[in-house]
C-alpha cells in the first residue's frame, strides 16, 4: 500500500516536472520576433462574440499552420473580465469583445492593432477570414 502511494506520488511529480520543463522549453524556443493574435471576450458570451472568436481562431490556424508550429504566430482567447487577465485588459485598453494582433520584437510588444472591422464582417465569413489573415500577414512582414 505504502509502495503504491509512493509510486503514485513519484509519477505525479515526474509528470509535473516534464510538463514544466516542456512548457519552459517551448517558451524559450519561441522566436524573439513573432505575432500574437488575442481574441478578448467577456465571461458571459453571446452568439456573435462566439462566432467572432471562432472565426478569428480559424483564420489564424488555417492560414498560419507552419508559423504556429514554428512559434512565429500564436492565437489566444482571453477573458477580459477575469481578474487574472486584468493586466491584459488594461494594457490593450479592452472594453468589449476585440481581436488584437500584436507584433513582438525581441520578446517585447513593439506595436499592436485592434481589428475593429471584425464587427462589420461577422456576417460575411470569407471576408472576415481574409481580413484577419491579411492583418496577421502584414504584422508578420514587418
Amino acid at each position: 500500500m505504502k509502495r503504491l502511494a509512493v509510486a503514485t506520488l513519484l509519477t505525479l511529480i515526474a509528470s509535473f516536472v516534464i510538463t514544466f520543463v516542456t512548457s519552459a522549453a517551448q517558451a524559450a524556443d519561441a522566436p524573439k520576433d513573432r505575432v500574437i493574435a488575442m481574441y478578448f471576450h467577456r465571461t458571459e458570451r453571446c452568439p456573435t462574440c462566439q462566432k467572432m472568436g471562432s472565426y478569428s481562431e480559424e483564420a489564424v490556424k488555417a492560414a498560419f499552420a507552419d508559423e504556429i508550429k514554428a512559434g512565429r504566430v500564436a492565437f489566444h482567447f482571453i477573458d477580459f473580465e477575469a481578474q487574472k487577465n486584468a493586466r491584459y485588459t488594461r494594457a490593450y485598453n479592452i472594453n468589449g469583445p476585440a481581436l488584437i494582433v500584436a507584433r513582438i520584437s525581441s520578446n517585447k510588444v513593439a506595436s499592436y492593432r485592434n481589428l475593429e472591422d471584425i464587427w462589420d464582417k461577422v456576417s460575411d465569413k470569407p471576408a472576415f477570414l481574409r481580413y484577419v489573415q491579411e492583418n496577421v500577414k502584414a504584422c508578420l512582414a514587418k
Binding site: A27, R42, T48, Y88, G96, K108, A110, N114, L115, W119
Partner: protein
C-alpha cells in the same frame, strides 16, 4: 293591520327593486357581450398602430412624408455588449433627436430577430447578430437603409459611439438622396466605403506590455 300593510308594501317594493336590478344586470351583460369583440378589435388595431410607429407614422405613411426608423435588432440571448449597444444608441436618439422623436420624424423600434414577428425584417437587413439599422421611409415605402456595423466595435468608447450613431442618423435625415447613377443599385442599402486598414499602436520601448504564453 297597518303593520301588515306596511310589511306588504315593503316586501313588494323589495321584490320590484330586485327584479329591476336583475333586468338591468342582464341588459348590461348583453351590452358588454356585444361590445367585447369590438373593444378587442380596437385594442388590436391600436397595438398594430403603436408597433408601426404611432399615429404620426401612420399619418406619414398616408401622406407620404419622409421619416426615419431606428431599429435595434437583438436575439434571444443577450450579452452585456448587446445591451450596451442598445442603451447607448437609444440614448443618442433620445438626447440628440428629441424634437424629431416628439414629432415622430424619428422612431425607435427594438426588434427580436429570432422571434417570428421580427425574423423577416431581420432577414431584409441581413441581420445575423445585434445591430442598429436606420431605415428611411417615404410613406410606407423604404427608400434607403443602413446597418451600423461599427456599433459593436465602438461601444466601449462612448463618445466615439455617440458621434458615429449621431452622424449616421443626421446623414439619413438629411435631404440628400444618393446621386442618380446610370446603373441603379441592386438594393437600397447604403454602401459603406472600404474602411482604412487598422492603425498600429506603437508601444514605446520603455513600456512592457504583457504577452500571453
Amino acid at each position: 293591520m297597518e303593520l301588515k300593510n306596511a310589511l306588504t308594501v315593503c316586501l313588494i317594493s323589495f321584490f320590484a327593486a330586485t327584479v329591476v336590478l336583475l333586468i338591468a344586470r342582464a341588459l348590461d351583460l348583453q351590452a358588454a357581450a356585444r361590445l367585447e369583440p369590438q373593444l378587442i378589435k380596437i385594442a388590436d388595431e391600436l397595438e398594430t398602430l403603436r408597433k408601426q410607429g404611432g399615429l404620426a407614422a401612420a399619418r406619414a405613411e398616408r401622406t407620404g412624408e419622409s421619416r426615419l426608423v431606428v431599429y435595434y435588432f437583438h436575439g434571444n440571448t443577450r450579452c452585456p455588449t448587446c445591451r450596451a449597444v442598445e442603451s447607448q444608441a437609444q440614448e443618442v436618439v433620445r438626447s440628440d433627436f428629441a424634437a424629431e422623436l416628439a414629432s415622430e420624424a424619428v422612431t425607435w423600434k427594438p426588434v427580436n430577430y429570432e422571434e417570428p414577428s421580427g425574423a423577416s425584417l431581420g432577414k431584409q437587413f441581413d441581420v445575423v447578430s445585434f445591430a442598429v439599422v436606420l431605415a428611411k421611409m417615404q410613406g410606407d415605402e423604404m427608400t434607403r437603409w443602413k446597418r451600423l456595423d461599427r456599433a459593436g466595435a465602438l461601444v466601449g468608447d462612448q463618445p466615439r459611439f455617440a458621434a458615429y450613431v449621431r452622424e449616421e442618423i443626421k446623414q439619413m435625415l438629411g435631404p440628400a438622396e444618393p446621386p442618380p447613377s446610370v446603373t441603379p443599385p441592386a438594393d437600397s442599402r447604403e454602401t459603406t466605403l472600404a474602411a482604412p486598414p487598422p492603425a498600429d499602436t506603437a508601444v514605446p520601448a520603455a513600456v512592457d506590455m504583457p504577452i500571453p504564453e
